[in-house]
Amino acid sequence: MAAYDWFFDTVGLREWCNASKSEGTMSMADLLAKAKGGASETSWWEVPFPSLDTLNKSCDSVMRTRDFTASIEQAFLGVKDNLKVVLDPITQPLSWMLDGALALFVGTPWWLLIALILMLTYYASRNVLVTIFVAFSFFLLAFIDHYTYAVQTLSIIFVCTILSVLFGVPLGIAMSKSNTFQRFTIPILDMLQTLPSFVYLIPLIFLFSVTESKLYGIAIIMYAIVPVVRLTDLGIRLVDKDVIEAADAFGMTSRQKLFGVEIPLALPNIMAGVNQTIMMALAMVVIASLVSAPGLGTLVLRGIRNLELGVGLVSGFAIVLLAVVLDRVSKASLARINAAQSH
């Protein structure tokens, strides 16, 4: 006699319950209960919460929690093949880009790549101190033989940031133009940002094979795209209403307004978003080493797995150094844009 028999009896669902009476697999708890053979009355003090498992004891038609999770899995596996047909070709270029960039970055001689990076740094930031700092960091990383790992990490961040901006900026613009679209998008962005990164690795692992680089690419982009979307939306909404009115009063088309006024004036905010996107891509690329993303993260993982304290700490330090480099360079470029626009 289980705790909630009375409920199904009074509501008149007994027949429905008995209809699917089956001797399926029993849980350990069921077996134990059966062995005790106790059809004891439960006292009110010990009444269990009417969870799926408890209700199942009174009525076989109610599914148990493990059946529930299993059915979710089944449902997911059911649509998986169809989803794959659509998603695989769409996302395939991502794998090519990631693999291509990786091969290119690693294949370039170290002196050439470092020189290019330094030139890019100076061009973007126009700041000698930052450039010197970047040079110092790369030589240090190379000196302790972390150069290749760092460059692998960098290549992934490079591809993922470019794609985040490519998709995020138009998305942010669309959000700034439509309140309805914004209302609909913000909860999704909130979710992407608050979900622990491990959680959305799970469906991705099912959807794509762990050996494909697009798996971690998607995970990183989903996580890192959020700030650039948000700040593009915000930036465009914050553009001086008077200037927008002037643009309208002189008969600009919405296209002229977007490219001639709104995006240029929102640029400081958009660049702040890009800075955050880069930092989040770095955070995620370390975690993504769990799903075979190469780079510094694999060293951290090795440190944890094999309890190699030194390896873990040094690679952790390398990640911090890389983070500071990326942050300084993007902030310095941002400062340059702000200075050019100060008004």
Binding site: D242, V243, D248, A249, F250, G251, T253, G260, L265, H343
Partner: protein
């Protein structure tokens, strides 16, 4: 304000009432969730305060009828919140009316498609803003050429035209600077150059000089009058400052709580305020500086009197006539227009005209 300013004003105010370029008919604007209902209430006589308290709708404009003469400066004046900005934004449909017509060259702007409306804004109406509203990321030259660039003109032509108008408003050699590097007065000169470069016959100016220091402001008013002498644009000018309004207006429209209290020739309004509200307004004005001989003179009957102390032009200000008389109130003058006698003016009548009317009585016109 010196004598040379007075001279510029003279030439403008002689313009006879011109054919209407812009006509506003039966215009109503209600802001809120249910403008149609608000409109019904307002037509039934509900006033602005009650409309807001009882129906939650804001009365923007009520029953506006104005004709703006071609080549004239129509000034719309009123206190803050009286609906001036709302009114001027109806002309280029930055704000859509709840009811009414806006005719430009006889065509209702409300019938325009989106493309026609853009065309109107690009080449028929330019606008100058209180907060300048220049593009901060573009140089002064690029800002001045904005309207032509929007229209898609040739870059060379744009820059030549923009440079020409920058010169004309007194901004030589700053074309390559950015707006934030200029003072407020200079920025507004760029704003005016931008409006002129568009070469539109109608120019809308929403409190264009209100953000400027008094001295700069006087400069800008003189600049505008001087430009207008050559350009003959149809200008709609908004201000909350009566001195400014009287200085530049050919036609003055006074707004209060979204409706027109009085409109007409500025001199007329000054001498015949129709309403205690306007009497209040005009009470503080230096009337000697604003009133002119033609508004105060006796029309000439027969021959000009022989005992007159001399001739004054019909557009001379009373201030200049007082200066000429040396304060002798026994003097009398013959008023001439284009050197033909049109009236007589004695100092006693002149002095009477300087006293603001306290209560509304009739027949004030012929002091």
């Amino acid at each position: 304000m010196g004598m040379d300013n007075v001279a510029t004003e003279n030439t403008i105010n002689t313009a006879p009432s011109a054919p209407a370029k812009v006509v506003i008919r039966d215009l109503f604007k209600i802001f809120g969730s249910d403008p149609k209902m608000g409109l019904q209430q307002v037509r039934n006589g509900v006033n602005k305060t009650d409309l807001l308290d009882q129906h939650g709708q804001v009365l923007g404009l009520r029953d506006i009828n104005v004709e703006m003469g071609e080549g004239q400066i129509t000034v719309i004046m009123g206190l803050s919140g009286s609906g001036k900005s709302t009114l001027i934004r109806h002309l280029n449909r930055l704000i859509e009316p709840t009811a009414g017509e806006i005719l430009v060259d006889g065509v209702d702007v409300m019938s325009y498609s989106a493309t026609q409306l853009r065309e109107l804004r690009q080449s028929q109406m330019s606008m100058v803003f209180q907060k300048f509203a220049l593009l901060p990321h573009r140089t002064v030259l690029q800002n001045a050429g904005m309207a032509m660039r929007i229209r898609g003109d040739q870059e060379d032509a744009i820059n030549a035209e923009a440079a020409k108008w920058l010169d004309r408003v007194g901004l030589q050699g700053v074309g390559n600077q950015y707006p934030h590097q200029l003072s407020g007065g200079m920025q507004q000169r760029v704003g005016i150059a931008r409006a002129l470069t568009s070469n539109a016959p109608i120019m809308l100016m929403d409190e264009a000089f209100s953000a400027l220091d008094p001295l700069i402001r006087t400069d800008m008013q003189n600049l505008l009058l001087e430009l207008q002498k050559d350009l003959h644009k149809t200008i709609v000018f908004i201000t909350h400052d009566l001195d400014e309004a009287l200085k530049i207006a050919d036609h003055l429209v006074i707004l209060k709580d979204g409706h027109i209290v009085q409109q007409g020739e500025p001199q007329d309004i000054l001498l015949n305020p129709s309403d205690p509200y306007i009497e209040d307004f005009v009470g503080d004005i230096n009337r000697a500086r604003v009133l002119r001989a033609r508004s105060v003179m006796e029309p000439l009957v027969g021959e000009p009197p022989a005992d007159a102390q001399g001739q004054v032009d019909h557009d001379d200000t009373l201030e200049s006539i007082i200066a000429r008389s040396g304060g002798d109130i026994s003097h009398g003058y013959v008023v001439t227009k284009d050197n033909v006698p049109v009236g007589t003016l004695n100092m006693t009548a002149l002095l009477k005209a300087l006293v603001p009317r306290i209560s509304s009585d009739s027949g004030a016109r012929n002091y």
